[in-house]
Symmetry: C2
Subunit: 480 residues, 2 copies
């Protein structure tokens, strides 16, 4: 899977532009691109960065094979000199990225690419696709996991995913965001994400009675027995039959039942009643799993109503991020080099919020030294340093009279080198390490920023130097 050549998974305009630059003698002109996003999905306070590992795999495999060249030739739109260039194409750019699992905020670069313009431009589609998709799902998973308040959440959505990779990398992103596992088997095989699953309703239907179905399952898996109790009637049939199967098939063998699963009906009511029945039967340790079109809002609701659920299985609303299935990351030119000089570039827009931040940048996250909470992110010029030992004044880039002087902070660079001159220099953490890193990083976010409704807006400010450059460019263009 890691070796699939996705070179031609690109918007066609990347190729027409590449040929244009090539014909203009600009193939080696150095350009700088930022990937950033403008709005947190679901009106949340922050998103979770994910997908860097797959961007790395993509860039390592980037090459036009014979079929690709033949296909492009068949378009009768490109010259042989350009096709020859593509045949020998080698990715030579520098890439920086925010590590996976990091909370990220609107308008800050999360990926920066510097290099020959054709190369740096060409990878736009795949960088966006990969980071947009996995960040979307990691962000949604993190919301759902936080709503579960310490209870476990499993990702169950493969069958409703938008394509195979939607299921596979969606399971990966959900795990990074905090799910404990997935129903998607290949995700365990590929990423060592625990895959879990027991039975569908069809298992019950195959037998002449629910009890028979339960008993056979319990005999087959006495040490790991979860029974689905809602095929006919949860409280009148499912739970009583489960208890009987546990008693007859599990306990005599010296095991304890694992769980029952409720997949329909009123989860709050049914889980409370089932809990009582299980407890009275002596199965206080038998867990209750709920799974039925759940999301963070429903989970929050049913928990506030006292639902007795130990583990949530979340499917379609997680794997598609149904309430907001688009993560709107964009990839914008921010600078070019001309005769060794860096020329910052800006993109204007009638919508003020869509004006880009120019220049070659770094992002610093400032943490309070005492609480270890993140206070603000500051976009700086790439070679600018923030001195942790001196007071640092941040200000709102739009309402510049809003100012705050910070002391006692720790400043951390968010963007780390991933590729240097086309060579991968990043030591990839395991998916498990990323998940743990994410958990620790989300802990640095104030609760006010974590709210589902009206979260506090986290500061993403510009350094004075960067702000001045932006204002200068805005002036230049407004004079025009």
């Amino acid at each position: 899977m890691n070796n699939m050549n996705l070179t031609m998974l690109t918007d066609f305009y990347e190729i027409t532009m590449a040929n244009g630059y090539f014909q203009n003698g600009w193939k080696d002109k150095t350009a700088y691109f930022d990937m950033f996003f403008r709005k947190v999905p679901d009106n949340g306070g922050f998103a979770i960065m994910a997908g860097v590992e797959q961007v790395i795999q993509y860039l390592k495999n980037l090459a036009f094979d014979k079929d690709d060249i033949e296909y492009l030739r068949s378009r009768k739109q490109f010259g042989e000199d350009f096709l020859e260039y593509l045949k020998n194409f080698k990715f030579n750019c520098d890439v920086w990225a925010v590590p996976e699992g990091t909370p990220i905020f609107p308008n800050e670069p999360v990926v920066i690419v510097r290099g020959p313009v054709i190369e740096a431009q060409f990878i736009e589609t795949m960088v966006l696709l990969t980071i947009n998709h996995q960040s979307l799902i990691a962000t949604k998973a993190n919301r759902i996991v936080r709503a579960a308040q310490g209870r476990e959440v499993m990702e169950f959505g493969s069958r409703r995913a938008q394509g195979y990779d939607g299921a596979i990398y969606g399971a990966r992103a959900a795990y990074i965001g905090g799910c404990i596992g997935t129903a998607c088997t290949i995700a365990e095989k590929e990423f060592a994400i625990p895959a879990i699953g027991t039975m569908a309703h069809s298992w019950i239907q195959m037998f002449n009675s629910e009890l028979e179905a339960f008993c056979l399952y319990a005999r087959t898996y006495p040490d790991n027995c979860t029974l689905l109790v809602d095929t006919y009637n949860t409280l009148k049939s499912g739970v009583p039959n489960a208890i009987r199967a546990f008693r007859e098939e599990i306990v005599p063998k010296g095991f304890r039942p694992k769980a029952i699963r409720i997949d329909s009906g009123d989860i709050t009511y049914l889980s409370k009643a089932a809990r009582k029945m299980l407890d009275e039967a002596g199965f206080q340790d038998c867990r209750i799993v709920a799974s039925n079109s759940l999301d963070e809002f429903i989970i929050r609701d049913i928990l506030s109503q006292g639902a007795e659920v130990d583990l949530f299985g979340v499917g379609e609303r997680l794997i598609t991020s149904r309430s907001e299935p688009v993560f709107g990351g964009v990839y914008k030119l921010v600078a070019v080099e001309e005769e060794g000089r860096l020329i910052p570039k800006i993109k204007l827009s009638e919508n003020v919020g869509k004006v880009t931040n120019p220049g070659f940048k770094q992002v610093y996250r400032l943490y309070d030294r005492v609480s270890n909470k993140a206070i603000a992110d500051v976009l700086t010029l790439n070679d600018e340093a923030i001195d942790e030992n001196r007071p640092y004044e941040i200000f709102d880039p739009e309402y510049t009279w809003k100012r705050k002087t910070l002391t006692g902070f720790r400043a951390q660079k968010l963007l780390v080198p991933i590729f240097e001159k086309g060579k991968c220099v990043y030591e990839s953490p395991s998916t498990q390490q990323i998940k743990e890193f994410c958990r620790a990083q989300v802990d640095t976010i104030w609760d006010e920023v974590k709210r589902f409704e009206n979260p506090h807006k986290y500061y993403v400010d510009l350094s004075k130097k960067l702000w001045d450059i932006k204002q200068g460019l805005l002036q230049d263009y407004s004079v025009k």
Copy 2:
């Protein structure tokens, strides 16, 4: 791409159940499964079937390789006899499906699988994932194309797709649904779907002026020149510069300009003003492309306001079906064979709408012979025939007093054989043929069913025989 082994892209419970059936000596017990869906996305009147070709590829490649077996062994949950069985696993089922491009309706089987229960059950996840995803996007594309009222629609969404296959097969499904092409290059290479694209804003930004950027592009592609006009100011800068570039670089070479593209701002206002400017410059034949978070509702609105758009580029709201990103197809056991006898199975639910239709079935679509419009779909027993030469009474399966006698109709079986005993017997049409078939089939749907708001509910009825069997099973279970 067609040869990727996706065998392990399966919910883990398919494997635990498979082992359970295997241990119970049931591996060759014949089971029947239906795939169907319950609700048309976006409250529409019908959906478009898509994804059959990828299901075929999946089933042809279904095999557990050494790595898969090794991985399953490492779970320490399965016996060697079962792993040996998987090693020799061969798909032997019969499969029927509704051809791609066909309008489909809730509660009718669109795929039927018959065969050894382990096999028929195992493929659930991938059958659902594949058909759910592509039908979702084909359905959305068809809505958007209908909203465009004969104007062309391009799929532009790769960068916001949910994973690589989301982009690739999404482009395929969008094309089936009626888009004329895609920005996704690999979709042209793989499926011969026309890929189109010209320039990003970054192209403009790379140059010292917009005019310079336009002129260079026009010089490079004089015979196929579309210019993006909204980087700085559409009407004051973009369109005038485009006209100048057309005059200086295109016309002298004997070509005509292709189009301008507007990607932001008020499309209605800007397109009308741009149209006027182009016409006055003598470029009446220069088309206007619009692209900016469009969907069927926005397109309908701006067209009703007189927008002068010839081609719509639709991105994130198409490729994710943003307003409803889930197609809720399910896969349910409907019958088993016991000692050569067919035993229909039903799944009850407290929600009446979720009770399944039991038995081995066929779906007939009845067309009016004069208008060639589809009148009703009738679910029958598989061996039941509908005589076109005699009046046929249909009735509402819930409100059975609602009846209608049809005459002068043509009855067409919707489900066609795809696999027979594991061998593919279906001659796959090309993606282009599917697209054309879809167009013709959508023409058979009454306008009342095509409405976006409150569409007429198309009849999906049961034959008397099937209805009787269902009632019998409901009685049996209610006595219980």
